[in-house]
């Protein structure tokens, strides 16, 4: 063996040379920061990161927020919601009102006047025909349009002249700003989509992936679930905008790595939807490249309390079935229990651990806009374990040997479900702890989001079936008016086998009085009266503890310090004003080099 080893090793093989070369290259100090070189070349290029990659650019056919936002750089609605939830004109000359004659006195129609001299990116004129076409396109029954709810009260759309279009309603509609307001129902070009109506809508891949729009950008290449490449629309109505020449929206990965690409490495200008543990974001922000931006809309993370008996021992024809209120939950129907459950929760702690800048303690089901926000429930931000314990004692719920309260053989033992998501599981664990302090035992369960939110009537794990005692998720309302959202809690919306579990009242609490106020709200036009009624409805839900609001959630994104013009919006697409975004010349990389040389 001695002799053998002496003839060995042979000459350095190719692979060793290769790895040596790679190592040398990697260690060479002269190598410049790749970001800087990229930045120099593409100074007027906007790099946006959507970790949930856009699947299509036709928002009527997918409806995920990601798709709607990616499309909002190209196609526009008649009006947007601004960052305060106010309606501002986009393709309309003005917002219709009684004063300018846009709204009829009987609330049966709304008339939009369109901006003159607007052209599509292919230079053809934008007219009222396009608006009418878009409504007809979505209202086609065979299509499966997901913005249908915004159009469902429309009887017909009348083109009055080239720049005037009237929406006529089936019934009086005091709040007529659903259709064509906000980025989820933008105007499509009639000439492009004419042959794509009904069932054919699905087959028009070329159109769905490349809509012609009036917006600041047009699409160059769209790769579904991967990347969208844009170039500035030279026919945009404001000739000096957009300030960026080109843009990309890159998808894939997860929220934490998206945050890293902006905050820690500065590779991207903007990253969308970063629900990541707050301490991670804070740590990343310290690199000095960028900051977190937040926009509050109407999103409320809430605990739904099941008013029907969800005991898993019950037969399926009884479990969680409303039966006109004759299948009550053994303890959640007790007002004191519900109140105690709410009192025991320290919302500030939930915010601190799970949400940081992305949330605030919530005491209302309608948290915004300001004029609809009830001032009557703000005390909930202070938890009060003592009072909660006292309430339960007085109601006859006595602690057993194991520390769990019980009455007449019924234990305060809760099955608590939500979707799978690290922040939600963290919140679940905290709430479990808080409830144990008042003698309530909690079993936690999490379900994959595609199942929990899927609403498949065949699955036992949907939030609509609600086969547990408490469940947690976020809901919000479309637009800036809570009317249809508050109507979610009426008796006829109760989910049950009768309606195939289709409905919006999933906790199955309702009263005839509440239903009456909902009806009144739907026929009230006076703004002040609407506010009063909405607040009254909100207070009914909250003060009866039909649900327990936890967090007012913000949309949470990140921008580089060198990206200017961002007006973070919780009511509309975050890219709603992308035409105004610009590069701040004080380059962040110069700043970083200076720091190193010190």
């Amino acid at each position: 063996m001695e002799q053998l080893t002496s003839t060995y090793p042979p000459r350095c093989p190719f692979w060793i040379l290769l790895s040596c070369a790679l190592l040398l290259w990697a260690c060479s100090p002269s190598e410049k920061n790749p970001n800087v070189t990229k930045e120099e070349i593409v100074d007027r290029h906007l790099d946006v990161l959507y970790w949930q990659a856009p699947s299509t650019l036709n928002p009527y056919l997918s409806g995920g927020t990601k798709d709607m936002e990616a499309a909002s750089m190209i196609i526009e609605p008649l009006a947007h919601f601004d960052e305060n939830g106010q309606i501002v004109p986009t393709l309309a000359q003005e917002i219709p009102s009684f004063e300018n004659g846009g709204l009829s006195e009987d609330h049966m129609s709304i008339t939009w006047k369109l901006l003159p001299n607007v052209t599509w990116s292919d230079s053809t004129p934008f007219t009222a025909e396009d608006v009418k076409f878009t409504a007809d396109y979505c209202m086609n029954d065979e299509m499966g349009c997901n913005a249908l709810v915004e159009f469902q009260d429309i009887d017909e759309i009348v083109v009055i002249d080239e720049l005037t279009v009237q929406l006529r309603f089936k019934k009086p509609k005091p709040h007529p700003f659903d259709a064509f307001v906000g980025s989820n129902n933008p105007i499509l070009q009639k000439a492009q989509f004419e042959n794509c109506t009904g069932l054919r809508a699905q087959e028009c891949t070329e159109q769905n992936f490349g809509p012609i729009g009036t917006g600041p950008f047009k699409i160059v290449e769209f790769r579904a679930n991967d990347v969208a490449t844009y170039v500035a629309n030279e026919n945009y109505r404001e000739s000096d905008k957009p300030y960026f020449q080109t843009a990309t929206i890159k998808g894939g990965g997860d929220a934490a790595s998206a945050a890293r690409a902006v905050l820690a490495t500065g590779e991207y200008d903007y990253a969308w939807n970063l629900q990541v543990e707050p301490e991670i974001l804070t740590q990343m922000s310290q690199a000095g490249y960028g900051e977190i931006v937040t926009g509050y809309g109407s999103q409320i993370e809430r605990l739904m309390l099941n008013f029907t008996n969800a005991n898993s021992a019950l037969d399926l024809d009884k479990r969680s079935v409303y039966m006109d209120g004759n299948n009550p939950h053994p303890f959640i129907t007790d007002f004191n229990v519900r109140k105690a459950l709410s009192l025991a929760i320290d919302r500030n702690m939930l915010v601190e651990h799970g949400y940081g800048a992305g949330g605030a303690p919530a005491c209302n089901v309608v948290p915004a806009p300001l004029r609809f926000r009830s001032p009557n429930n703000d005390s909930c931000t202070e938890s009060n374990v003592e009072l909660a314990n006292q309430l339960l004692d007085e109601a006859g719920w006595i602690r057993g040997d194991d520390g769990v309260r019980e009455k007449d053989g019924v234990k305060l033992s809760i099955l608590f479900q939500t979707s799978t998501n690290t922040v939600r599981q963290g919140t679940q664990a905290l709430i479990k702890q808080m409830w144990s302090a008042i003698g309530v035992e909690t079993e936690l369960r999490n379900i994959d989001g595609a199942v929990f939110f899927g609403g498949d009537p065949a699955s036992p794990d949907t939030l609509q079936k609600f086969y547990s005692d408490v469940e947690m998720y976020t809901n919000a309302f479309l637009g800036n008016d809570p009317e249809s959202y508050l109507a979610n809690f009426t008796c006829d919306q109760i989910t049950s086998p009768k309606n195939d579990w289709l409905g919006t009242n999933v906790n199955r609490a309702c009263t005839p009085e509440y239903d009456k106020i909902v009806t009144e709200l739907s026929i009230t036009a006076d703004p002040q009266k609407r506010e009063e009624l909405a607040i009254l409805l909100n207070d009914t839900v909250i003060q009866n503890y039909w649900l327990i609001p936890l967090i007012h959630r913000a949309s949470l994104s990140a921008r580089l310090y060198s990206l200017g013009g961002v007006r973070m919006n919780g009511w509309d697409s975050e890219l709603w004003n992308v035409a105004d975004w610009y590069r701040i010349e004080a380059n962040v990389f110069i700043f970083k080099e200076a720091e190193v040389s010190n």
Binding site: T7, N33, L49, R260, T504
Partner: protein, 337 residues
């Protein structure tokens, strides 16, 4: 040989049909729903309409037969049409396998993803083999020396540390701390000149190396075991007695014989290139076939999942066959009946 080949191919058809049926039933039993990712502001009636428009209300056997027809008849016709620029029948009306999330033909999505997956995962497989073979030979030849210990240690690390950890580690070191390499793979990047080629190397380096380490770790162990077994064979002793140079023994005799089982391993591993490296693709945002599959699973995009997993099954069956044939080609002792 030819008879063996055609018999195996004939057997593959019922196997694949059975696989497709199992896949279809399994996916149908899965509880997630394509409307699950829509915002809650979309009411249940509208969701029901969306489900209808996707054809979800048809009974399962109808959907299965539809898929079979679309996949085995319509899509091949479409491929032929595209390849030769002809029109066969009414191509406007022909139903294609469409993804529910994008509403675009699944085949086009897959074609779009293939390049980056082949580049990143294929290259890493190749580099993995190039590293594994010499490492396997050397560590076996110098059994229990420090180089063997090192090789064993590195391959154990490479094999047991998951790529989402090594990938993240690489990003933290090379992107965050040192700012040398981009942490996000740009799939639209086109190589046109030297500097764009340089950028392509930089962006591909981290995912390829992370995956190579993993691939090399596994293969080098097989190679080492195979070489060790051969080194103790009589023919090696005979060669030495004949006075052959040690290098000739190692590289012409032992290496070739040791390659026999390893070639099979390499051929069997090829389908994994196509199925992508799901986790590594997510970490570096390579967005290849692996990412396409995982997004489809999360979004309950059943036609896409069904088609992708079925194509993977086809590849696995195919490469099993190829491995068997290769084995016969490199080892003349094996005869096919």
């Amino acid at each position: 040989m030819l008879r063996y080949f055609s018999r195996r191919l004939a057997f593959a058809v019922p196997t694949l049909l059975a696989i497709s049926l199992v896949l279809f039933v399994l996916l149908d039993l899965a509880p997630n729903d394509p409307t699950g990712q829509l915002p809650l502001t979309i009411p249940p009636e509208v969701r029901e309409q969306i489900r209808d428009s996707l054809g979800l209300d048809d009974p399962i056997y109808v959907r299965y037969v539809k898929w079979l027809h679309q996949f085995f008849v319509n899509e091949p016709i479409n491929l032929i049409e595209q390849a030769f620029g002809v029109e066969i029948g009414n191509s406007e009306e022909r139903l294609r396998v469409r993804s529910w999330a994008t509403r675009s033909p699944v085949v086009e999505l897959i074609a779009e993803r293939l390049p980056q997956t082949l580049w990143v995962v294929g290259l890493s497989y190749l580099i993995g083999i190039l590293i594994a073979l010499p490492v396997g030979v050397i560590t076996a030849y110098k059994q229990y020396s420090w180089i063997d210990q090192l090789g064993t240690f590195v391959s154990m690390v490479g094999f047991s540390v998951p790529t989402f950890f090594t990938g993240l580690l690489a990003i933290i070191i090379f992107s965050v701390t040192l700012s040398w390499l981009p942490s996000i793979y740009d799939t639209t990047h086109e190589v046109t000149d030297l500097s764009s080629f340089w950028y392509q190397i930089k962006q591909i380096l981290m995912p390829v190396l992370v995956l190579s380490l993993y691939n090399a770790a596994q293969l080098s162990r097989y190679m080492r075991a195979s070489v060790l077994e051969n080194l103790n064979q009589d023919y090696v002793r005979t060669a030495r007695v004949k006075g052959l140079r040690e290098r000739a023994i190692l590289f012409f005799h032992v290496f070739r014989n040791s390659m026999l089982p390893v070639i099979t391993m390499i051929a069997l591993g090829v389908p994994t290139i196509f199925s992508g490296a799901i986790i590594t693709e997510q970490v570096f945002r390579v967005n290849g076939l692996g990412q396409l599959l995982i997004v489809a699973i999360q979004g309950a995009d059943i036609p896409l999942v069904q088609t992708l997993t079925f194509l993977f099954a086809v590849l696995i069956v195919l490469f099993n066959l190829i491995a068997d044939i290769l084995y016969g080609l490199v080892d003349p002792r094996i005869k096919y009946e």
